[in-house]
Amino acid sequence: MTADAQSAEASADPSRGTRLSFSAVAISVVWIAIAVVLAMTTGPFDLAVVDVGKQLLDGLPFIEIDSGLTTTERAIVTQIRLPRVALGLMVGATLSLSGAAYQGAFRNPLADPYLLGIAAGAGLGATIAITEGLGDGRGAFDAVPLAAFAGGLIAVWFSYAAGHIGGRSPVSLILAGVAVASFLTACQTYVLQANSDVIREVYTWILGRVSTSGWGEPLLLLPYFVVTLLVVLRYGRALDVLAVGDEEAASLGIRPQRVRVIVVIAASLGAAAAVAVTGLIGFVGIIVPHTVRLLFGASNRIVLPLSVLFGAAFMVAADLVARTIMSPAELPIGVVTAFVGAPFFAVVLRASRRYVW
């Protein structure tokens, strides 16, 4: 081929760089659909897909369809399963997105949403609320989730304050997070030892669950989920620039500290809200973003949106397993995310030929 022909060919098709592919989004949407359909129809009452679909359409404005379901079944669809699925979708999406955002902001594959002490802070907040008898952990506007939310955010704030004392690198922030988490965990243990009668209640809260009492929990999480989603997704490109290190990113005209602070605060807000509503659900924030990276590429413009979609599907599926496998008892969802998630991740890790970290 002559040089001219080469340049003609290239100008017709210059490489456009990595983009979110339609097929990746389509695959994840199919997974979400499968998980949602199964979650809506499976349980102590097995319902037909068609009837559930009709019932959901009936709930939309200006549409009147008779689903043929009994009153009890209608209540199960609209007041029990649908809010639970909605909460699962949001919690999975939020934790996965926050994990991906933390990994990008800290350039650290082991970062998860709990890195800056959210888990320990939320745990301490919830423990204090329970031991003081402020609430019983049931219901969205109970004192326990509110105390957990406050505890998580205070922990992040402490980590930031301490991290700046030791310098401004991502590593000093991570170390500060470790220190804050240890301190708050120690406080929590102290409080628990002094109030051993509530240990079981506290651990039930800590182990995590996607249970709802109507629409309170999903609606409580919704605003934080939306803020986290909008801010973090907008910063995908900025995180890609940050991947070359603070100094080089600065030489490309961005302010690395500012990008990191904005992304981490947005991600922490969502993660703290998710923890407050569902307790601590581990592993999702690490496994989902890494699976996406291994399957579809490392650019944050791909990893962030696909983590939202796959995280949502994964959490709904995990919750389905958690509530059906020992029915009528419920397995803590953290057990399922790790028990199913860890082997699956090992398979992806082994099969992938990508070099992502």
Binding site: S11, S251, W357
Partner: protein
Amino acid sequence: MNALSLRNLRVSLGGAEVLAGVDLAVERGEWLNIIGPNGAGKTTLLRAVLGAVPYEGTVEVSGVSGRDAMERARAIAYVPQTPVIPPGVPVVDYVLLGRTPHRGLFRADSRRDLAVADDVLARLDLRGFSDREVGSLSGGERQRVVLARALVQESAILLLDEPTTALDLGHQQEVLDLVEELRRERGLTVVTTLHDLTLAARYGDRLAVLAAGELITTGPPAEVLTGQLIATHFHANVRIIDDVDGPVIVPVPGRPEEGNP
């Protein structure tokens, strides 16, 4: 006309004075090599020009009026000594990062961004690599990719910190020849730091010698590179052979004798 001028540039890091009042001007289109022993402040000087370290004194960069980082990034491109290679990123994405100062943080790559990147990839014979992951490339290929990222910034000034480190002789030559060709084609102003004195004498127009944070002298290689200067500031015992294309620095085993370099 100066592309770059430094006046009484002082930098202190961790309480130690790294640059002690440097005055230096670089003409538009010139190639200046900064040489000096380890710890002389060469890299710090480049970082001060980038605005990456706090400094006292004046740094005037042609085309930069304020402190806006994006504006500065459109005027100066920088290749660090050890670039951070992000994991799992293909060459084309990595090179397109260089368009950040032009498109901002939140816009997608424009047609022009893609065209500039494509031109640079073609010019540096990297088109065949565009989908390869940067981390999987050899040292020489990788250095070309990093250079490509700097070139798509379309800035008039190119700062290269030890661009030949970790490259074998052939690839050292390849990179420096490429920089020279690009300088002529695009009228770039080039400032590099270099450890290899013979290479520093062969490429570029002028040398600046930095030692202990002070500018010792600047000038054409044949005038600057004397046995006396190298013995004093590098503590090296060398023989200098005057070749038609410039001095060749040959190390002589054994330390220089005190008072008799």
